[in-house]
């Protein structure tokens, strides 16, 4: 059993007071405790951004990598050791800007990693430029005045669905209980799981504040069918006065490491068969 003290932040947390990331971190810790796996089996891989700092604020295996590149690093880690529960943390800029291609391909490969996308609709760490999910017309230092962001935002849920993710969900940093459950389910899901987490950045995107989301988020109804990808896709366009949360889509099929038919467990412990290599050489003899 993992206790809360085991997960205590190794570093002073550097997020602003009121930041949505605190809620995400709480839910993550809660999920890790609930899952009941040994501590060394968790591995957090993050990109760059406020979200990317998460591994420094929880006492688990963690690797804080490059902007946008957490997903390929996580993919490599997972195939190298399939016992690991690999969890990616990235922002909307990180995973939908620099990293959008990787996200799509990881979804298509159905890599068995969990991807937690901290969506605050803005670039936090670089102080307030618009992000791929900033709404049309969003005003920031890098949007052309006076119109603001001259294009529509990325539909995160839709992108994940089209990519081929087999677990697609949305949570809210202000609903820790629901978010914890979503993270637990995502980690338990044997395939690529994307959880978009609506996360207020109280400094650079005050419009998307706590109240904004509290007034809008609602849980997908009980009769919502999580097996239908087309229904999920249709639902993904609902983002305005009402913002659905919960599991949009879930489907099980073989995941990437299984497709590759790699040895179980850790590749580190595997040695290439000497005689087999000699055979490969000898087949090339003239």
């Amino acid at each position: 059993m993992i206790e809360r003290e085991d997960l205590e932040s190794p570093q002073d947390i550097q997020w602003c007071p009121g930041c949505g990331n605190f809620g995400i971190l709480r839910a993550l810790k809660q999920a890790v405790m609930e899952l009941g796996y040994p501590k060394h089996e968790f591995f957090l891989v993050s990109g760059i951004g406020q979200s990317g700092k998460t591994p420094h604020f929880i006492n688990l295996n963690g690797f804080h990598t490059l902007h946008g590149r957490a997903i390929p690093v996580a993919t490599g880690a997972h195939v190298a050791n399939t016992d690991l529960k690999v969890i990616v943390h990235g922002g909307d800029g990180d995973l939908l800007g620099e990293g959008l291609g990787h996200l799509m391909h990881a979804a298509r490969r159905n890599v068995n990693v969990t991807c937690l996308l901290h969506n605050n609709g803005v670039y936090g760490l670089t102080k307030g430029q618009y992000s791929p999910t900033s709404p049309h017309g969003f005003v920031s230092k890098t949007s052309p005045p006076p119109t603001g962001v001259p294009m529509d935002p990325v539909n995160t849920i839709g992108v994940a669905l089209i990519g081929g993710a087999t677990f697609v969900a949305r949570g809210f940093a202000g609903d820790i209980n629901q978010l914890t459950q979503l993270i637990v389910d995502a980690i338990e899901h044997p395939g690529f799981a994307l959880v978009e987490i609506m996360q207020p950045c109280v400094i650079f995107n005050p419009k998307w504040g706590w109240d904004f989301f509290r007034e809008r988020v609602y849980k997908l109804e009980d009769d919502y069918d999580i097996k239908s990808r087309t229904a999920a896709l249709e639902k993904s366009f609902e983002f305005g006065d009402r913002i659905p949360t919960g599991v949009f889509y879930k489907h099980e099929k073989t995941h990437f490491a299984q497709e590759l038919q790699l040895p179980e467990g850790s590749l580190r412990d595997h040695t290439n068969d000497r005689e087999e290599i000699q055979d490969i050489i000898d087949e090339m003899l003239v």
Binding site: N59, N61, G76, V79, N81, L267, R274, Q278
Partner: protein, 571 residues
């Protein structure tokens, strides 16, 4: 005996098959071979050729002058004719309109024989081979054995058809036609070579990686690195090596870093443009101290450059790739056999020092093939460097040690929490902006360099230690330079050859000695700006006296080097 063949035609005509056939025939007969493929970046048409050199002594480079041309198109005659020696042979299909025949130029019914005797135009290869053996007055049984070997898995009738075609052509040329030509190798029945492994540089590097216990490879196709990646993937199931063709090179290197950080020996393969995309992740490997082997099969740049040609133009780019300062190791193999051993060592060094190791090949090394002794896999090389032992909660992934190398643990190790970061971090792997920590971490990483130097081999000197002239080379230009040096020595020139396989960090002891002893140091590089000479100047303050450069994308020949050397006054 030192014979060279040029087999030329359009892409898609099966030049490679004839080339492989010819090379195999001679290897089986105990000769040393050296083959290059010169081709354009197109799938069909154009003009391509294979050059095969065959000798009863070791051969290391392509040559300019050609003894035999086998031409499948008129271009193949016209384009190569000025390289043909006097009395040289041209074998071509009689349908090609080429009138100015000399004594030993043979228009032959290659296509017709293939169709009528074998029932398949594709058997033109066998026809050409039969004719060739006849002209050289070698036994047709050589072709029979080789054809049986090569086409064996396509069934008896294919083998029989090919053999019949070869024999028919052999008989047709025998006698009057063959007598026209002066070549007679009927005595070369059992030549000395026992080297039966016919490999390219890319294949040898792949074998080295397998023997070094490669467990993960992720790459994006780019000539001329691709064949290495393909070779490993084709054998991945047999060895349980994981591999993936990624969405791009950025993913390729980052994925390999994820795998390596988690304990799997990993590599990526690419070529210049692809390496450009990897550059940011090279820095991640440097900062997070992740072992990785990066293979760059260089080709002429910038940008997409000449996709199917060769150059050594990425040395300084790779040396300086990624922002900031961190140690790396750069290695440039000279030929397939050396590439095998250097690749094994590359993985060992990567693990031992937890740094990126760059293997600098080029199109020439990647694709030329030669026969080398059978490689015996003795043991799977698993020296993993320092590993962490204790399993307590206070594991420091980046513990400061005297030699700069921290004991490694992997995410997933019981009792350990392994934290790492591409940001400047403290010993635990957590972000730190503390200036003292920053200094300590920079120094820790750079402290590896002297230890790395201790492990690297000195450059090799070929020829007399003391000579008036010294040729300076690195990587795959070794072969042409070595042969040039040998020929000049035989002509009485006082010359030797200093060659580097380990390029960076730079060993300077032998270099200093040679510099003191030679009257003139002449760098020979397959690039326009003498990058290695610059690297030497940067690291040692020593300058070369003359620079010889080739950057037309074609590999060097000994003749070309000799001509250039004469021009700078070498006598």
């Amino acid at each position: 005996m030192d014979l060279s063949f040029n087999i030329g035609g359009a892409a898609g005509q099966g030049i490679n098959t004839i080339g492989d056939l010819v090379a195999q025939v001679f290897v089986k007969n105990g000769l040393y071979t050296f083959t290059i493929k010169d081709y354009m970046s197109r799938v069909r048409g154009g003009y391509n050729f294979t050059q095969i050199r065959v000798s009863d002594e070791h051969v290391h480079a392509p040559v300019h002058s050609v003894d035999v041309i086998i031409a499948l198109t008129k271009d193949a005659i016209v384009n190569q004719r000025e390289r043909l020696i006097e009395g040289g042979v041209i074998i071509f299909d009689e349908s090609l309109d080429f009138e100015e025949c000399e004594r030993c130029h043979l228009p032959l019914p290659l296509e017709e024989t293939a169709e009528e005797v074998g029932g398949d135009v594709r058997m033109m290869n066998a026809a050409a081979l039969g004719a060739l053996l006849s002209v050289l007055k070698m036994p047709v049984s050589l072709a029979e054995n080789a054809l049986a070997d090569i086409f064996g898995d396509k069934g008896d009738s294919v083998v029989e058809g090919n053999v019949k075609v070869a024999r028919t052509m052999f008989e047709e040329v025998k006698g009057e036609l063959a007598q026209r030509c002066d070549h007679d190798f009927s005595s070369v029945e059992n030549a000395p070579s026992k080297d039966r492994l016919l490999v390219t540089g890319n294949q040898a590097i792949a074998l080295g990686a397998m023997a070094a216990n490669l467990k993960w490879i992720s790459a994006y196709p780019m000539s001329p690195s691709t064949s290495l990646f393909e070779f490993i993937i084709q054998n991945a199931q047999r060895l349980q090596i994981g591999g993936l063709q990624t969405e791009d090179e950025i993913a390729g290197l980052n994925m390999a870093l994820g795998a390596s950080h988690t304990g799997a020996r990993s590599m990526v393969t690419t070529s210049g443009g692809g390496f450009s995309l990897m550059v940011e992740a090279v820095g991640l490997a440097g900062m997070a101290e992740i072992p990785i082997v990066i293979y760059n099969a260089q080709r002429p740049g910038p940008s997409t450059g000449l996709p199917t040609r060769t150059e050594q133009g990425d040395l300084l780019f790779m040396l300086h790739s990624s922002q900031g300062e961190f140690p790396r190791i750069m290695i440039g193999p000279k030929d397939p056999l050396e590439a095998y051993y250097l690749t094994k060592n590359a993985f060992r060094l990567a693990d031992k020092f937890q740094v990126p190791v760059m293997l600098l090949g080029d199109q020439h090394l990647a694709e030329f093939s030669m026969n080398i002794p059978r490689i015996e896999i003795e043991e799977i090389s698993m020296e993993r460097g320092k590993l962490a032992e204790s399993s307590d909660d206070s594991y420091k992934r980046f513990k400061i040690t005297e030699d700069g190398v921290s004991p490694r643990a992997f995410p997933g190790d019981e009792g350990m929490v392994v934290a790492a970061s591409g940001n400047t971090h403290n010993e635990f792997g957590h972000i730190s902006e503390d200036p003292d920590n920053r200094n300590a971490m920079v120094e820790k990483r750079l402290a590896k360099i002297p230890r790395i130097l201790d492990e690297l081999e000195e450059p090799k000197v070929y020829g007399d230690e003391k000579a008036d002239y010294t040729l300076l080379t690195w990587g795959s230009t070794w072969g042409a330079a070595y042969e040039a040096m040998q020929r000049l020595s035989q002509d009485g020139v006082s010359i030797n050859h200093l060659h580097f396989a380990y390029l960076y960090p730079l060993k300077t002891k032998r270099l200093n000695r040679i510099w003191n002893e030679a009257k003139k140091i002449i760098s020979v590089e397959q690039n326009a700006t003498s990058q290695f000479a610059k690297l030497i100047r940067m690291e040692s303050g020593l300058s070369v006296d003359e620079e010889i450069n080739k950057y037309d994308g074609r590999p060097m020949t000994p003749e070309w080097i000799i001509k250039e050397l004469r021009e700078v006054g070498v006598r």
